[in-house]
């Protein structure tokens, strides 16, 4: 195997401006690329200091998918059934949790100690779930 990194991941969002505001101003990520390709707006963000791993914030719609399919994707996304998930790590789960609560981020799970670490859950404005964990060293 010669693959050596996961460089880009993708989630669907309903509104790219709102997504940019959430991921940058609420979660503290950085804008990586915001480019109008004509057929789509290529919008990616990354964690500070980690520009090699981007998250594409893609808006479902034509011409990539027909309007009816896009509507289905949007409906599934908003009921939390589309499956988009992001997992991020932090050095201090409780501190990060408090910061995000102060910024009005929707919390799905409060910090809980699990066998793998301390983690908590949030949702983005569209229904995607995000897990943030302070991971224990792997045995």
């Amino acid at each position: 195997m010669t693959m050596n990194a996961i460089s880009r991941s993708q989630i669907y969002v309903l509104d790219q401006d709102e997504a940019l505001d959430f991921y940058v101003n609420k979660l503290g990520m950085e804008l990586n690329t915001d480019q109008d390709l004509g057929f789509m707006r290529w919008l990616t963000v990354n964690l500070p200091g980690d520009p090699e791993r981007e998250i594409l914030l893609e808006k479902p719609g034509p011409p990539a998918m027909d309007p009816a399919t896009a509507a289905t994707v949007r409906e599934l996304l908003t009921k939390g059934a589309l499956g988009g998930s992001l997992f991020m790590t932090t050095d201090d789960a409780h501190k990060t949790y408090e910061e995000l609560v102060a910024r009005g981020v929707e919390i799905t799970d409060e910090p809980t100690e699990r066998p793998y670490g301390i983690d908590f859950g949030i949702r983005d404005p569209f229904g995607n779930r995000i897990r943030i964990g302070q991971m224990f060293p792997r045995a």
């Binding site: 009921k79 939390g80 793998y116 779930r129």
Partner: protein
Amino acid sequence: MSRAVEESNRAMLRARDAMDRAYAEPLDIPALARIAHVSEAHFIRTFRATFGETPHRYLQRRRVERAMSLLVETRRDVTDICFAVGFSSLGTFSRTFRQIVGESPSDFRRRGTPTNVPSCFTKAWTRPSSFG
């Protein structure tokens, strides 16, 4: 029409997340309806249309899922777990657990094994299904 469905879905998801956070508390339909910005009757009807089950049933299965997790991941006794997840009587808990899971809490504990994956997946995938 589609935009209205999306906004309704998102509001219902917000209320369902609130139920997941406070699963051990009594079911508070007025509070959940306020989170979703709808009337109580509309909330129950729309929740069912969105997720395929009533808020009461969702909460019941969430509590059983949490009990399943505590049974295999802790050494707390069954009565303690029953109250910790929100049931107010051991009889109701045992009956509901058996009805949903198909075996008693003690039998489930004997054959259960702890998981080591992010708990959002555990919660979603081990919540006993009523969808067949």
